[in-house]
């Protein structure tokens, strides 16, 4: 049996902040859910099934929180799934939700991903000593800085390219009413003047820790008729590889390249740079923009990524605008960060991205990664129903 067409007809998100002390976890999720349902013009009662995603339970200090959340998010009496695939989880969760529709099992699925980091302490959650493992004690930045250094060396990138990305995304965030960081004065110069944290990653080149949630309503072909502007799902992909292995290329992991190849094939795309109108790429540290541009095949793998970024092609109005929402660099509720990328891509092809809309966007990429650059989740959404 062939895959059933599926489309996003509702996107909702919270205002992302360092601490959302004004709401409980259920309150945070409902803020995103209610917006997504309003967008989809559906009620919770009409939803067939709910898929919840978030990163490690230690981030909030609750084991399998979807169980206590079941009632408040409207899952009581419905099927409820809980996905956890590290940083890529927001993307994977949206893909599992889409597969419920694509499999022909359900017609109206709600998916929600969140993190409320202020309930616990992420550094503690990530620093539990593990027997026989070298402690990192440096957070994600310390883990990824060597990958970035390796990229700069291999591609002979000028060292200010990361600052270009950071300044661009922070400026884009000013156009997104939900973004966490709103720093109108951020420029390439100010980023370069900020504190060096993990050489070559400076303070302004890192993502914040946010409380926030994102929700999507994904429906079948006949239910999509209720929407004036559905975002059709043209392809979804997940790929995983090991954390450590001698032959691993951590700068341009094979799982990422394999995922991109499978995705473009599914979506019928032969030249991503020409056929994709905008991309929401998971960039928690500025340099990951040029790194992923190469890995995803938007540019050659010998420095094509930084050349694209440096040329301004990834800015609003450029050839391939990247992270018009401000991206992970401006809002990072970890479990939701991937779903925000997927949801922002959907908003763009629906022409519903408001001030950060790319004119005439018809096909967009949503991308997420996690673990030690080893888990990947991606989708392509389009304004037209896929032909096959």
């Amino acid at each position: 049996m062939a895959k059933q067409p599926a489309a996003v007809i509702g996107v909702g998100q919270t205002h992302h902040r360092a601490k959302r002390e004004d709401v409980s976890m259920p309150g945070l999720l409902r803020e995103a859910i209610d917006r997504a349902l309003e967008d989809a013009q559906l009620t919770l009662e009409e939803i067939d099934a709910i898929v919840v995603g978030k990163a490690p339970d230690l981030f909030e200090g609750v084991m399998m929180p979807e169980l206590f959340l079941a009632d408040s998010i409207g899952a009581a009496g419905k099927p409820l799934l809980r996905v956890h695939t590290a940083g890529s989880v927001g993307g994977s969760t949206a893909i599992v939700a889409a597969s419920l529709v694509q499999a022909g099992v359900h017609k109206k699925v709600l998916t929600v991903a969140y993190e409320k980091q202020s309930e616990s302490n992420a550094m503690w959650a990530l620093s539990v000593p593990i027997p026989f493992n070298m402690p990192v004690h440096a957070g994600a930045g310390g883990y990824f800085a060597p990958h970035v250094r390796s990229y700069i060396r291999r591609s002979e990138a000028p060292t200010h390219v990361g600052a270009i990305v950071a300044a661009k995304d922070r400026q884009n965030a000013l156009k997104n009413p939900y973004a966490h960081l709103k720093n109108p004065d951020t420029t390439v110069e100010s980023v370069l003047a900020s504190q060096m944290l993990w050489d070559p990653i400076r303070y302004d080149e890192t993502c914040p820790s946010s409380d926030g949630a994102c929700a999507l309503v994904i429906v079948s072909e006949d239910e999509a008729a209720r929407s004036a502007n559905p975002a059709w799902i043209h392809g979804t992909v997940m790929r995983s590889e090991a954390t450590s292995a001698a032959e691993r290329d951590q700068v341009n992991p094979q799982a990422s390249r394999d995922a991109a190849a499978a995705l473009w094939k599914q979506a019928g795309i032969t030249s991503p740079i020409d056929e994709i109108d905008m991309a929401e790429i998971y960039v928690p540290f500025s340099w990951f923009e040029p790194m992923w541009l190469e890995s995803l095949g938007f540019a050659d793998a010998n420095g094509g990524g930084w050349r694209l970024t440096e040329s301004g092609a990834t800015a609003m109005g450029g050839r391939l605008p990247v992270n018009c929402s401000g991206g992970v660099l401006s809002s990072n509720p970890i479990g939701a960060s991937g779903m925000l990328r997927f949801g922002e891509a959907a908003l763009q092809v629906r022409g519903a991205a408001g001030e950060h809309q790319v004119d005439g966007a018809r096909k967009a990429l949503g991308h997420a990664y996690g673990g030690g650059s080893q888990f990947f989740a991606m989708w392509v959404v389009g304004s037209e129903k896929p032909s096959s």
């Binding site: 009581a76 009496g77 799934l81 599992v96 090991a242 799982a255």
Partner: protein
Amino acid sequence: MRDVAVVGFAQRQMAEFDGSPTCVELLVPLFAECYEQTGWTRRDVGFWCSGSSDYLAGRSFSFVSAVDAIGVIPPVNESHVEMDLAWAMYEAWLKIQTGEVDTALVYAFGKSSAGVLRRTLSLQLDPYTMTPLWPDTVSLAGLQARAGIDAGLWDERAMAEVANRSLTDAEKNEYAIRKGGSSVEELLARPVYADPLRKHDCAPVTDGAAALVLAAGDKAREVCERPAWIRSLTHFVDPMSMGTRDLTRAPSAQRAGAGADLDGVEVAELHAPFSHQELILRTELGLGDDVRINPSGGALASNPMFSAGGIRVGEAAKRIWSGEASKALGHATSGPALQQNLVCVLASEGTDD
């Protein structure tokens, strides 16, 4: 819907696993058994999905090192649920239904003995109103058992009958960690542990892992003489709040059963970590006295967290493969006091046959 069957199953259950909470050492031999059963290598597996809990492992991202057991170079199509194996199987079944893949291997693991399980599970409750009181799982199940006794729905004798049958059947299960039936009278003479529960009314703390192999259509027929075709696969969840739900009922189990093709089920493997919960499930699923319950000994004989539900499906599949049954039910539960329930009906004939 595509016809999808369970064609492989491997399990390990023990009182105390002498190894890491990520259980990689347990998973490698389990996968080897699955390859032997199917004649496949890992490259024949189209999709992988695992179930586990970070809180049980005492660390974040516990599933990350588990993928090392697969040998994920080159990379694989893979996902993970913070749920029991049965729900990992559900995600894989969905993936096969989309037509994207034809085969899947799903697995789950958990080292319950690494902490005090009933306390760890307190962290599953509402963090604002319940967890601060640290009610433990056994006590909550005790309240549930008492509610049923007070309502006249069952008594301690009926609970002891469940335990006696389970422990007697467990004698034939090499993976059971608690086994040996006696008599209802002898069991009732034992001391009360969490009134009205006695120790044998509660699943033993169990470490372990399990894996299931799924395949669609001809792929299943190629590797299995008598595939266990999935005729129904449904699951639902109830609100958690103990104060507002009727603890003597499990509406989500009833609903899952109502959505499944239960006609003619001969064997049912029910995931009931407490004896009285089997009584609730039998009622909610409408299983008659002619249905053989838990020939494996069930969860009262061993209950490895995050794989015990999927093991029920594996045990049901074994009855189909062997020809012992032509229709069998596997059930899984999650959350306190039967909050979430899944029903999987397996049959020797698929819908296409």
